[in-house]
């Protein structure tokens, strides 16, 4: 080749390189622009629900206590999050609620609401709002001037939202929310004698059985149900992964070239793996939940079927890379076929198989959460249920934290097991 020709080739290859360097970002930009319009990202700002965002954020670190007065009977109830399970038993006194014919509710900023036949709320920096609910409506009066936008007033309903709390008055019901920090009733519900006691009091008081029992059967946070759900999710991952591996191992031998001389058998096994992997976990979950109904068994089987495909492929590839020398060595001592497999093949592939299987154990814990959300089992189900109610966001946060902790724990557990087992195999003979 002449110098000129070499220069020309170099120029051409440089020009091509330059083109790709500029073309690749341009293609990426073009694609993202297309997606921007296809997904209507611009219209997202209209769809974003700021209210939902506020509820979600404030719910995760605070809880509210409802003080509600039935305007027909005049009865007043105090309950956490307005739930029957969180109702304060009659006779409990809270230092910010003064129950009576006219109930006085102190709010965090020093203002208070008087709830009786007439509701009075003296709002700092605005003025006094009164309302007298009756058959003709709520009959509210406001200070002179325009009604600000944090007050929502109509004939039959008045809602006032301030930083300190929220007051709603309708004909039948007057309700005040006051916000507090934390997750209330996380350890004990109100009907438990241990509610409100400090850790030191509980630790020195004995009665550990009763304390545990009250915590475990907490009706608000359902600790025992949550623990079962986590266990179910891990069970799905465990059964699915190891069950899949156990079924895939013999099939892997059938799909490996050096163990199955019969081409058609090999072909059939491989296409089966492709099919099992190609039919996604989602489809397996749907098909199986039709037969077995919702629950952890369905999830386990769905993970198992997908994993048979994945493991079968990995195992057969590992088997094809087995070193023949070791098998020949074993054969030269007069070993029978079974012994040749046992001492010539298995020790070679165990580290590869184990490390793959344990790696999938972690990723399947995540899949089990997702499958649980679809088919109804484990922590995935609890999470979707909590999200669907659209109000128990502190529970959603709690479950999300538990899920992250569970996946990370499974990750480090499988990593630890991998190091232990594979190291152990390397040390000595079998």
């Amino acid at each position: 080749m002449t110098d000129a020709a070499i220069y020309a080739t170099a120029d051409r290859s440089l020009a091509r390189k330059r083109l790709t360097t500029f073309a690749a970002p341009a293609v990426i930009m073009a694609y993202l622009t297309y997606v921007f319009f296809a997904f209507d990202v611009a219209g997202l700002s209209e769809r974003v629900s700021v209210d939902n965002m506020q509820t979600l954020v404030s719910d995760t670190y605070s809880y509210k206590v409802h003080v509600a007065r039935d305007n027909r009977s005049g009865d007043t109830e105090v309950s956490i999050e307005g739930e029957r399970k969180g109702e304060y038993p009659e006779g409990t006194s809270l230092d910010w609620v003064d129950l009576g014919d006219t109930t006085r509710v102190d709010l965090a900023d020093g203002s208070y609401v008087l709830m009786g036949e007439t509701v009075t709320y003296d709002i700092p920096g605005y003025g006094t709002v009164t309302a007298t609910p009756g058959s003709s409506g709520v009959n509210a009066t406001f200070p002179a001037g325009d009604i600000p936008e944090w007050i929502n007033a109509s004939k039959n309903r008045v809602a006032i939202t301030t930083d300190a709390g929220r007051l709603t008055v309708t004909r039948n019901r007057t309700e005040v929310f006051r916000y507090f920090y934390g997750w209330e009733l996380f350890f004990f519900t109100l009907d438990s004698p241990f509610h409100g006691k400090s850790f030191a009091e509980l630790a020195t008081g004995g009665q550990y059985g009763a304390i545990w029992n009250d915590f475990w059967s907490n009706k608000m946070w359902r600790h025992s149900d949550v623990a079962w759900a986590l266990a179910e999710t891990i069970l799905m991952a465990f059964l699915g992964t190891f069950g899949g591996a156990m079924i895939a191992l013999p099939l892997g031998f059938i799909a490996a070239k050096n163990f199955t001389p019969l081409g058609s058998l090999r072909f059939a096994a491989r296409r089966m793996f492709d099919f099992l992997r190609g039919v996604d976990g989602l489809i397996w979950t749907i098909v199986l939940s039709r037969a077995f109904g919702p629950g952890p068994l369905t999830g386990s089987l769905a993970i198992m079927l997908t994993d048979i495909g994945t493991f079968g492929k990995i195992f057969s590839e590992a088997l094809e890379n087995v070193d023949d020398k070791q098998i020949e060595g074993i054969a030269s001592t007069g070993a029978k076929p079974m012994q040749r497999y046992r001492f010539g093949v298995i020790p070679q592939i165990t580290p590869v198989l184990l490390s793959q299987v344990l790696y999938y154990l972690e990723s399947n814990t995540r899949s089990a959460t997702i499958i649980g959300a679809i088919t109804g089992g484990g922590i995935g189900l609890l999470l979707t249920q909590a999200i669907i109610t659209q109000k128990d966001w502190e529970e959603v946060t709690y479950y999300i934290i538990l899920i992250i902790a569970m996946v990370m724990a499974m990750d480090s557990f499988s990593g630890w097991l991998r190091r232990r087992l594979i190291q152990g195999n390397g040390e000595g003979g079998h």
């Binding site: 799905m236 190891f242 996604d280 039709r290 037969a291 959460t369 997702i370 679809i374």
Partner: protein, 296 residues
């Protein structure tokens, strides 16, 4: 370690010693195996007991639903091409969710991985926090983020895209930073000596070395993300998964449409798998990149 340093051992001693060790080891292995088997069996029975329908009854019905679907699909086979066409836009949306999420996730992962690699990070104290962040992103299942975002942003493809992209950042960030560890630092030093900024050192010194491995991992992620995108559709995030749930809930008589969706999904996954594994093979075993120590 056996009782070594004492008197010289006879062959018999060594042999008894060895056999004793072997027995011990076999015993341990047997116990481990028994524990494992017990866990599997009891786990199976627990799962069976807590499931709505039992295994032994369900086993016989397992083929009923596929048979229904296939039966209806064959019965109205002439409608199938129409259905395939009808659900093509949804399929495209599912693929786009996966594609955009992979792309955005990979781009963010690229920078995150540089920040998480010793020798490349502009500040050493960043490495720990960035790695922990990647761990958390990886640990959160996509569905968790997607469900929360659907509540905030309404249904549609964007929540799914963000959810998958976040998970992708975590998964690819870790793999990328493992690739970065093997990258030679010489080009980076060379660029630094000429006064190149950190950005220039990374883009011109590191990325060309690691691009093939990055691409290969990103393609594998794309495969995984298509499956994830279909699943998220099923919980309300748009795309083919959403259609699948709707056709399924119509029940018997509409399973021919479900069959069309199954076919589309199955076909897409197989085709993307094939294409991506072809390109990954070229990227990692190609002539030009052979000596780079490809991982996949």
């Amino acid at each position: 370690m056996t009782s070594a340093a004492d008197a010289p051992q006879t062959t018999t001693d060594i042999r008894t010693d060895y056999l004793a060790q072997m027995r011990h080891k076999r015993m341990l292995n047997l116990i481990l195996l028994l524990v494992f088997a017990a866990l599997m069996v009891s786990g199976f029975y627990t799962a069976d007991a807590r499931n709505a329908g039992g295994f032994w009854n369900g086993w016989r019905q397992m083929l009923d639903f596929p048979a229904d679907v296939v039966g209806e699909a064959i019965e109205r086979a002439h409608l199938l091409p129409g259905y395939l066409l009808k659900y093509l836009p949804s399929l495209l949306e599912t693929i786009n969710i996966a594609g955009a999420a992979t792309l955005i996730g990979a781009l963010i992962a690229l920078f995150a991985s540089m920040l998480a690699t010793r020798g490349l990070a502009p500040a050493g104290w960043l490495i720990g926090p960035v790695r922990r962040l990647l761990d958390v992103l990886r640990a959160v299942p996509e569905i968790v983020v997607a469900l929360v975002l659907i509540f905030l942003l309404g249904g549609g493809p964007v929540p799914a895209m963000i959810a998958i992209a976040l998970h992708t950042v975590g998964a690819l960030g870790k793999l990328f930073s493992e690739v970065n560890e093997n990258a030679s630092l010489k080009p980076v030093e060379g660029l630094a000596s000429t006064g190149g900024s950190w950005m220039q050192q990374m883009m011109l010194g590191v990325v060309p070395q690691v691009a093939p491995n990055y691409l290969s991992y990103a393609l594998l992620r794309f495969e995984i993300n298509i499956r994830a995108s279909a699943i998220l559709g099923f919980v309300g995030a748009g795309g083919i998964g959403y259609d699948l749930r709707n056709t399924m809930s119509w029940g018997q008589g509409k399973f021919d449409e479900a069959a069309a969706i199954f076919l589309l999904l199955f076909g897409t996954i197989i085709i993307v798998d094939q294409i991506s594994s072809h390109f990954r093979n070229r990227l990692t075993h190609g002539k030009a990149y052979k000596d780079k120590g490809a991982v996949l």
